[in-house]
Every structure is written in structure tokens, then in C-alpha cells.
Amino acid sequence: MVKCTINGQTVEVKEGTTVIEAMHQEGMKIAHYCWHPGLSVAGVCRLCMVEIQGNPRLQVGCNTVVTEGMNINNTSDKVKEAVQWGLDFHLINHPLDCPVCDQAGECGLQDQYMEFGQYDSIMAEPKQKKHKVVDLGPTVVLDSERCILCSRCVRFTTEVSKTNELGIFNRGDHSEVGTHEGTSLDNNYSLNTVDICPVGALTSKDFRFKQRVWYLKEQKTICNGCSTGCNIKVYFNTEGFFRVKPVYNEQVNGYWMCDQGRDIYKFANKQARYQGGKRYNQGQWVTDEAPGHVAMQASKVIAQNKNKTALILTGQYTVEEYEIAIQSFLASVGNSIGIKNIYHWNSHISEINNFDGTLLRGDRNPNTKGLIKVFEKYNIQTQVEDLEKAIEAGQIDTAIVAGPEDLTYYKQSNQKMVSLISALKNIVWLQSTINPELEEKVKSNLFIIPMKSYLEKSGTFINFNGIEQSFRAVTTVMSQALTLGQAIGLMMGDQKAVLPAAETAADHAVKPFVQESRPASQVMAEERKKNEFIYKRGATNER
């Protein structure tokens, strides 16, 4: 441990810590652009100036290692002036087109100008013109004029994605970020460059111009794109979900997430979802029924076929739901013939151990481990193959399928499953997103019950590594939709399943209006503070 003094405060840090890291640990403010905790030190923006006693010149905090007894200061007039001029140089050629810039509202230039700048520019020269709206690849658009040449994106492609597509070309004020000849920014981690770009130079094609960021709320959750279970935040408002960004978690995903995970919000938006329950009976569709009602109808046929009902589960639901669902299933029907008629359906069973070397795993279910754990608890060891055999043997004539949320990776598997069970007498299909395959193929008695997407419920996922991660509901999109536990409960004849958990005396106790007593869904102003770029990074290490 090394002791030093920063802004008059004695600070103890690990050996090898840089000044900027030490200051973030202590929650002190320091201006910076090029330094990112997940990347190497470049020291190119010259904004993180600090004054060190005994050293006549200012030093950059990101590239200066703390030594014993160092006396560091970044509040003196000398530092303030240096930062201000540093900022002025960054703004010399900046177009200041904030009104059309997607980053406005969460922009490093805006924030740091408000914090450390606030001067009138004295530049008289015309600004340098550069390329606008450069298509870097399938996901990212570059605006060279807005770029402050911090090189974060370039370092990201060399150090993290290791694809080396980006570079800085030309010299002086003609410098521009671009892709090397013959390449485009096309890798599965490309959108991280948009997150780390402190200005609006890199923008995501998917999110571009959809919303201004100040219309969005954010909420932390877990990605359900694969079994890695990256920590993310989703951005949403009353019109739906709009984008996903990674949240720092040292044990799981570090600072990053993959591009495939960025799409998960699309499956939770209304357009992709079943808006109401559906039934198909003797060639006729009954649509737009309350999900609970469809479940009650299904419970009648299940009651008639108790011994021949199977429950098929995918690894896309939460541990809590599995618990309730399996419990109520076993209590009512599944166990009556001595066989536990519950099956694990995994689309990518052969690729389950695949890994792309960074984050993305072959198992595209967020909670395979969680399902296996609950299976073990109830001593169930069946797979889809066992289901095939059971169906062939005619032991099953009613199937309850808890389908996947995201059909992209279940496409073939879904076809197989649908054709496998389509001959059964009754099919109850639980899913949040629309499944056209199912509606087309199945000609028997079909019940479709809309489920809540995982963004609408609280629960736990267990990732490939056995790390249990709990998350809470982000918002409600379809208020009628059921959770797996509720749906199975209803079908097993337990009408209380849809009621909220019994209220305790503590719920009714009068609480003072302090932060701790706020409802879980309420987003506080501090949490939305876009200035987190400066304020919060040291404390929570996000971004």
C-alpha cells in the first residue's frame, strides 16, 4: 500500500495505482476523455492534468503512478486553467451540432464543458471540415467532425475485440478515425465503441435518431442473450424499450457486452409480443382472450388427461418460476403415475460449451444452469430425447411447453418441437413473443398463453459459471401477461396463483418518505444523472 495526499486528503492505494484511479476510488472529480478503466492508457487528451508538489510542470493523472508521500492537487488555478485550455483545443474543430447529435444529453464534451470549461471561445479561424455520416460497418456510423481523437475506439478494437479494424489516419488537425483499407467495423463487439466514445462521433445505427436520451429511463438487469449473463441496463420509456448498454461487473462481463445481446430489448417490445391469449379448437381460432382465462380453459383439459400431461421447459425463465411451476405441476398431475413428466428443452445442446473467447457462449439460454439446479432438486433427469420416446410410446397426449422468449436461436429447434408435438391431442404453449410456426402447424387443440418477458419480472438467473444473478422488473409492457409460475399454477387448478404474494404487516407499516422506502420501480433523479461520466465512474466503475 502507498500513502499519498490528494487535494489535502490522505489516501491509501495499492501499489501501481495511477493518480486518476486513486481519485476515482475516492470519488473525486477529474476531467478526462481518453482514459477508460477497461483499456490501456493512451494519455492523448491531456485533460486529466494534476499538480504534483515538487514538480514544476503539470502531469497527466492517467499516466502517473502514485508514489509514497506524493502530494497531488487538481483544484489549483493552474490546473483549472490547463483543463480549460485543453477543452478549448478539443472544441476548436468540433462542429457543436448538439441539436442533431444523438449523444447530446450524455456527452462527455457537454458535461465536461459545464463542469470545467464555461468560457467563450476565442478561436477566430474557420473550423476544419471532415467527413460526416461515415458508414463504418453494419452497426456503427462515424461523424469525424465530432471526434476528439481520444483513440478509445481504436484501442478497443486492438485490445478487447482484437479485430484491429479501426485506426487514426492523417496528421494534425486532418486526423480522422477510420477503418483500414478493405475492412469494415464488423465484429460481434462493435457497439461497445459507441458506448465508450465520449462524444457523438460513433453512433449506433439501431438507436440513431430513435429517441433523445433525456426521454429515456434506465434500469439495470441481466442480458438473457446467452449463458454468460452480462450485466446490462435497458433504456425505455412509455413507447417501449430502445437500447441496451453494458454495466460493469468484474466477475461476469467486465465493461463490455456483445452486439447480439443489444437486440434483446426487441423481443420485449409490444410489436413482437402476443397481445392476448389465443385458442384453437376444432378449426376455429378464439383470439384476444385474457391470458388467465386461457389458462383456466387449459386447466380443464389437463384435469381430464392428468396421467398423460408433460411439462417441457426451456432455460429462459427464472429460478423462482421453475420452483413454483415444477412444484405445482408435481403436486397436481406430473407425479400421479410415478414418472416425473418434465423435460428440459435446449436448442443448442451440442454447442453448449462453445465460447467465442470474449463473452458470447454457445448456450443461448440465460438460465440453463438454474433449470438444471431445480431439476436436480426434484430429481428430474429428462431431456428432449426422452420426450420423443414417450410420445412415440403414446404415454403423452397433452403437452405444456414453456417456449423461448427469443426465437432467433430457436428457429430450427422450434420447428422440430412443433412437429414433434403437433400430433398430440392438446397443446398448451406459453410464450411471450409471437410464434408463427406454431400457429401454422398445429391442428389439434391449442392454447397460447402470453407470458411476461423477463424484463417485466424479477427473479434470478444462474449463468454458465454458476454465478447467481438476481434482477428486478424493469417496467410493465403487457399487464395481463402471466409469469410461468402463475400460468402453471392456474392450469393446475390453483386460482390463487395470480394473486400477488400475501402482504405482510411490514408492507402496511407507515414508512417515512425516504429513499429506502421508495417502490422498486421508481427511478430517482440521481440515478438518471447523465453526468455520471464525471461523477459516478470512480464509485461504481460503470461505463
Binding site: 457543436l96 451540432d97 441539436p99 442533431v100 474557420p126 471540415k129 460526416k132 435518431f209 430513435k210
Partner: protein, 174 residues
């Protein structure tokens, strides 16, 4: 109630006020009949009042020299609007120097409180409050003004040119 007022003469207390009012009305009637130039009312709609040029009436979306919309779809007006009556959908423009433009710009005029905050928020003089103040119409939908109405309604004679000129801005390097 009435039998509380026993004294009949007290029950006539309001007459003097009424007669005073009738006197004023007739005085005005006679004055207006014989000197029409001093009338305070107008024969609307044949005659119409001209308001001050600073009057905040119905919105106008200004246009550039080439007749396309000046608005950059920055949504600052919508953010600033206290009545939350502006709705904008932005899209990518073919010209990289324009970049962003509104494919939908709608003002729900019945919710508008004519505060002028939108005009004040706009960084490029794309929205102005014009001198028109009449909004009568027949159907509900007609009160949601779209781009066609806001920028190109017949009264605007092809559009009002914005004071912020794109070409000039680019030459000045801002």
C-alpha cells in the same frame, strides 16, 4: 325566505342599480348610432382586428431557401413544451450535412397553450408563432397540425424562409 323582508320599500333596493345600467347601455347605443368611428366592437368576420406583429398565434414551420423544412428534428421544442403537444419522428436525411430531419412533426393545437416556449427553444428558427389565431374546424383530426399544414398551408404562400441559412453557416464554419 321572502317573508323575512317585512318592509316592502326595502325590497326595491336594486332598482336604482338596474336603472343606472340601462342608462349606460342607452347612452352607448345612441353614441354608436351617431358616431360609428368611435365604436369599440368590430363587425367580425367582415372586419378583422390586426394584432401586433409579436402576437403569438398559430405555429409556422419555416423552410430553407430550397423549400425543404428548416427543422432538424432536435426535439428541443417538444422537450420544452409544457403542454406536451408536439410529437416528432426523426429520420436519416440523404444529405450528410443535413443528417437528421423530421418525417413527422405534429402539433396538437387544442392542447397548445400558446406559450411560445417552442419558438424560444428552437436553435435554428425553424418554428415560429405566426399572426393567425383562428383555429375553427370540423373534425377532431384537423386539430392535429402536420408538416403540410404547419409549413405549407396556403396562407404561407409556399413557406416562410428561416433566418438561419445552412450555406452561410457552413461557410462561417459553424
Amino acid at each position: 325566505m321572502s317573508d323575512k323582508i317585512k318592509d316592502k320599500s326595502l325590497g326595491m333596493w336594486y332598482l336604482s342599480g338596474i336603472l343606472g345600467g340601462v342608462k349606460i347601455t342607452f347612452a352607448h347605443l345612441i353614441k354608436n348610432l351617431f358616431s360609428p368611428s368611435e365604436r369599440v366592437t368590430l363587425n367580425y368576420p367582415e372586419e378583422q382586428h390586426t394584432y401586433s406583429p409579436r402576437f403569438k398565434g398559430n405555429h409556422i414551420l419555416t423552410v430553407k431557401n430550397d423549400g425543404s423544412l428548416r427543422c432538424t428534428a432536435c426535439m428541443l421544442c417538444a422537450t420544452n413544451c409544457p403542454a406536451d403537444c408536439i410529437s416528432i419522428v426523426a429520420s436519416e436525411h440523404a444529405d450528410p450535412h443535413v443528417e437528421k430531419f423530421p418525417v413527422k412533426y405534429e402539433i396538437d393545437i387544442l392542447r397548445c397553450v400558446y406559450c411560445g416556449f417552442c419558438e424560444e427553444a428552437c436553435p435554428v428558427d425553424a418554428i415560429r408563432m405566426g399572426p393567425e389565431w383562428q383555429i375553427p374546424d370540423l373534425a377532431d383530426g384537423n386539430f392535429i397540425y402536420d408538416i403540410q399544414h404547419l409549413a405549407y398551408r396556403p396562407q404561407l404562400k409556399g413557406g416562410i424562409i428561416s433566418v438561419v441559412d445552412e450555406q452561410e453557416r457552413h461557410q462561417a464554419g459553424i
